[in-house]
Symmetry: C2
Subunit: 470 residues, 2 copies
């Protein structure tokens, strides 16, 4: 009798597979208020790993963490016309506090450009105060009518960087630096996700930005997910909040600002990029648990050896978890660790022990073999390195196989039914973008043929990447 | 001519001194919405250090981080009668979201017992699922009519632990463990604050708790500050949210829950415990910057040596910052580093360099001397260790000097005008507590004469610590 699958197979129903994995790997639950989520300990440990790595990179790029209030006076939002228009439909509004109706309603931050702009204006006086490089880790609220855990939630966790600069060139250089050095490199080197870095079209720009740049990844079903964005805000917020400074020549000028963010949405991207029909597959560099050491059954010698094995691996710098829950069958626990996507499982039973070996199950290669206990730490290191490389290579191969070079809208629509299409922007244009929109297809970004960022929407030779998306 | 003080002297006006230091050390600003605050990068770096240390301790105690929604249905709050009564006056309520009036108002979490209780009920089935040990780092909102930055703000950052246990004894043991192993030891060993650990009286208990335990610290003006609390919730929330489990004997039972938290209020406590008329004094184990290396003036050899000195200290594990802003006078920068409370300042000028020495300014001892550049890392280590010990000893000495043993309410009132009073709880009692309340004095906690925790409010021999407080 064939074993019933733990998850709905991806090929049968990808959205249901996603729901299944989120529930069964104990990543998250839906919260009681529409569109909110509860991030369970295992899901949160993945987010903590992401946070720690991204935070290090942000600090290395010179930005400092700070914290701005959750509550923003409604009047702040209205100061930048495009910004308020973009966010109004998604706002949650506090009208009662401390038992009283408020005179001015308070908005729960959907993003913090406005309140941070207000304080930048206070703190910046002279060109010597610039660049001002700030970041915050925070929750934000954007009311969602069609929520999906991690991907679109009414409340989500993120970091939002906000910087002010003396010139447009300086602001642009920093927004691009964050895009490449923080986001792209983190996604590529840690998440093992080969993202395309490009420029958003005017239609897809952040509300209030002059330029939005993005990292786009292909999911297991061929759709695109926006993994992170970096915006040039020009002088829009500097004008609205009067972020002025005296230049080195003694002239009063307006600053140029940027903002950039990644969120818990990345957890959803990770699941849909690497997951398979047995569950999650977490790249070793990110994995909160890289190796699980599992006692196959209750046996003092086995339990003791599992403990020393875990200590040995810990000492070698491996993130390891010990599974001694022998009251549950080894098969059931193995299924659970597969679901959770732990890269390596070491199963130890009396027979393994007698042979001085351990059963090494490689979640990513899908292999299982007996490995000598002597020198196991070295073996683990090479298995983890290989797994990291394999996940990246598989994702890249999928993206390449499922991306079509096309020149007509009809071809683009056909390609987008299974993956991405690349079409010269000159052949598509704003009208073509609108037409694709009627089919549920968007321009994810514009890139130059050599992979670099176009300077503007009109840069000759720019290629549009179009796809269905989350 | 005497130099005008940078801060209002403590002896002149302690609250103004506090406001001055928060502003001039660039720790925080008031936010635009009543009672909210903006935590500036330097203030936030202090909080990050606190977070990192407390987080490590919480994880060592076996709790796992998770994240629960900011928004709680109003109906959840009302399920536990004392809880809703305690928090109702402080709630911020969202009534409009996504452009529509909501059917059920949403409360912005003032604390998360209710929503976490709801999910504990889903996740706990059997005694095998217990203890369930959760923690979250989050923002919470309690509307403040008399806000004060860090101490009482309408929004603050904190961690809130929530656990469920099979028995009252198990829950109590864990709440006590957190109190001692996480809170007290962190405050004593890292913050250099000699906190008194005690039991709150019924009047001062957390809304919904059966027992609240606290860490209380004496501030520079003799008042008390509650630095953190750990609560036994009995079965109150387990009843309200139906957190049940099947016991090892197969009987359906209700769990026993606890909750515990520390917040950004600790930053305020740190300031008021150790600060002096020149600014903050940050204990070295906490300090985001332990040593600042300051080039006294523009000089290539000096700048080069400052850089290598900073690298040398960094390699020795010291958190170091380089100050090469020679366009600003050394005196002004020195004043600024004193304000920021960095434990050690190394000033290097051409003359120091010629002598193979550096001027070492010890912020906590208040001393200044020439130290040989050779072997400076060892010297720094011992200066930092001494500074940590000094801050603790000074705080302890102050608390002892300003705590009076009394037996009457009149004596307690007199003692509380300058510090704390210890009065046998049998001599004070609930009526005496009410009488003290009319004078703005509260019972901070009950302790046993040997410093241990009383088992109940009625434990014979318990001593009440009474004081004015923040």
């Amino acid at each position: 009798m064939a074993k019933a699958p733990v998850l709905t197979p991806q090929s049968e129903d990808f959205p249901r597979w996603y729901q299944d994995i989120v529930a069964k790997a104990e990543l998250a639950d839906n919260g009681p208020v529409r569109g909110t989520m509860v991030i369970r300990p295992y899901g949160y440990s993945i987010w903590e790993q992401m946070q720690a790595d991204v935070d290090r990179r942000i600090k290395a790029a010179g930005a400092k963490n700070a914290y701005f209030p959750l509550f923003i006076p409604e009047s702040y939002l209205t100061r930048e016309a495009e910004h308020v228009e973009g966010f109004s439909p998604e706002l949650a509004v506090v009208t009662v506090a401390g038992g009283k109706e408020l005179e001015e309603p308070i908005v729960v931050r959907p993003t913090s450009e406005t309140v941070i702009g207000e304080f930048m204006a206070k703190w910046v006086q002279s060109y010597r105060d610039l660049p001002l490089l700030l970041n915050q880790w925070a929750n934000v609220v954007r009311w969602e009518l069609r929520p999906r855990v991690f991907l679109r939630t009414s409340e989500f966790l993120w970091q939002e960087g906000h910087t002010a600069h003396v010139s447009e060139a300086d602001g642009r250089a920093y927004a691009v630096r964050i895009l490449h050095e923080v986001y792209e490199s983190f996604m590529r080197d840690v998440l093992a996700m080969p993202v395309v870095v490009g420029r958003k079209t005017a239609k897809e720009r952040f509300a209030g930005a002059t330029n939005t740049m993005t990292c786009e990844a292909m999911m297991g079903d061929g759709k695109a997910l926006q993994m992170g964005t970096s915006h040039e805000l020009g002088q829009n917020f500097a004008k609205a909040f009067d972020i002025g400074f005296q230049s080195s020549e003694g002239v009063q000028e307006l600053a140029w600002t940027t903002s950039w963010g990644v969120s818990t949405r990345m957890v959803g991207g990770l699941i849909m990029c690497h997951g398979d029909d047995n569950g999650l597959r977490i790249p070793p560099r990110l994995a909160p648990v890289q190796v699980v050491v599992m006692a196959v059954r209750e046996d003092d010698a086995v339990i003791d050896r599992c403990r020393t094995l875990a200590e040995e691996l810990l000492a070698a710098g491996v993130r390891v978890e010990l599974d001694l829950r022998t009251e549950t069958s080894a098969g059931r626990r193995a299924t659970d660790w597969e679901l959770k996507g732990v890269p390596v499982r070491l199963e130890l039973g009396p027979r393994d022990l007698a042979e001085g070996a351990v059963t090494l199950v490689d979640r990513i290669a899908g292999s299982k073999d007996a490995a000598p206990l002597d020198g196991i730490a070295n073996r683990i290191t090479s298995v983890l390195d290989a797994a990291q490389a394999t996940l990246f290579a598989e994702s890249l191969a999928r993206r390449e196989a499922r991306t079509a070079e096309v020149t007509t809208i009809a071809e683009a629509v056909e390609a987008a039914s299974v993956g991405w299409a690349r079409i010269p922007w000159a052949d598509l244009g704003v009208a073509g973008e609108v037409e694709l929109g009627t089919q549920g297809i968007t321009v994810r970004c514009l890139v130059m043929p050599d992979g670099s960022l176009p300077d503007s929407d009109d840069t000759p030779g720019a290629v549009a990447i179009v796809a269905r998306s989350y």
